[in-house]
Amino acid sequence: MIASGFDITVCVLLCLCALAAVTGRDTFRAIVFFIVYGLLISVAWLRIDAIDVALAEAAIGAGLTGVLLLGAFGQMGSADTMAREPRGAVLIALVAGAGIGAAVLFAVQGLPPEGAGLTAEVLAQLEASGVGNPVTAVLLNFRGYDTLLESIVLLVALIGVWSVASETGWGERPGIVHHARAGGTLQSFGRFLPAIGLVIGAYIVWAGSSGPGGAFQGGTVLAAVAILTILAGLVDAPRVTTRWLRWALVMGPGVFLGVALLGLFGGAFLVFPQAVAYPAIVAIEIVLTASIALTLVLLVLGPPREAPQ
């Protein structure tokens, strides 16, 4: 596929946004450029026919990470200024960046142009994997083990985020207290959007088995909706020590691991016999989505706040 002008424009814009985000002294400006960069990357993903990734990148890369960084910038505020930049260190960074960048460029252009990777193998086994969308097939069946570990990584990150709470704040609710004008635009927006968000999130998860979409993209949309309602002050996050919250967090990976271990009786780990593959994968996806959405919300909210003095 020959690169059209559009592709080149997108790439140039991407590099400019990255450069702007990386250089310069004002952090807020950098974060804004980062979010724009995130959206441009989603466009790039569309251009290379990776729709699932475009969804994920837009939702997680630009969306949640942007919110995280903005939130952090909000709370850090003055503490986040850099005194001065010693000349030598900048040079070293420049050399390292340029060097590794050049090496990777050299490697990329040296790759075999006709490398088709595992497309053929995946399509050949697609029928046996029980799902229509090849990406979901790889994600939940062929390389389901990676996805299982990855859902644990999310949990560990959450426990890590919670564990940096202050000593007094353990039983408290996570994140800072948000309050918005009662009946104001934010609150009405907060009431209006979740309905649409839920529908879209559920659809993405459901469509994931046959078309682009899936547990992570859907989960992120649902998480975004939840974050919005909390930002709008309509509902406050549950306390860290509430029991149902913990069981919900653990449910997704737990079910996935349980189903994987069931395979052991048949002599293999994480195996989905073709007959039962589709329902099993969809069930796992639904439970996983719930846990992932909850984990992502709590990750963005941050550690439990300090106990009121």
Binding site: G77, G184, T185, L186, F189, F192, L193, I196
Partner: protein, 102 residues
């Protein structure tokens, strides 16, 4: 064939509005006027582009989806414009009162 021509016209119109909006953003002195330019010009520009694309969309379903996207964009733009205006107003008042507390 005619449809393509109409789409061309509509998208060009949309582009013109976007250009105007961006120009407003750069030229206008304070936050409120910039907000004014952005919300007006960009939303209208998006509307025209969406209409132009809707003609190209094969099935009516896609056309409706495009309109829905436009509606969602409108609501989001409105809310954010309101919020930015309110926070700009509050910070200006504080600045005038002299107590620059965050």
């Amino acid at each position: 064939m005619i449809l393509d021509a109409i789409t061309m016209v509509l998208t060009l119109g949309g582009l013109a509005f976007f250009a105007a909006g961006t120009l407003g953003l750069l030229r206008f002195p304070d936050t409120h006027s910039r907000l004014h330019a952005l919300t007006k010009a960009d939303n209208l520009g998006l509307g025209l582009i969406v209409l132009g694309l809707a003609l190209q969309a094969g099935t009516p379903g896609n056309a409706i989806k495009l309109v829905l996207i436009w509606a969602l964009a409108m609501i989001a733009a409105g809310t954010t414009a309101q919020l930015i205006a309110r926070s700009a107003l509050v910070s200006n008042l504080r600045k005038d009162d002299g107590d620059r507390t965050r």
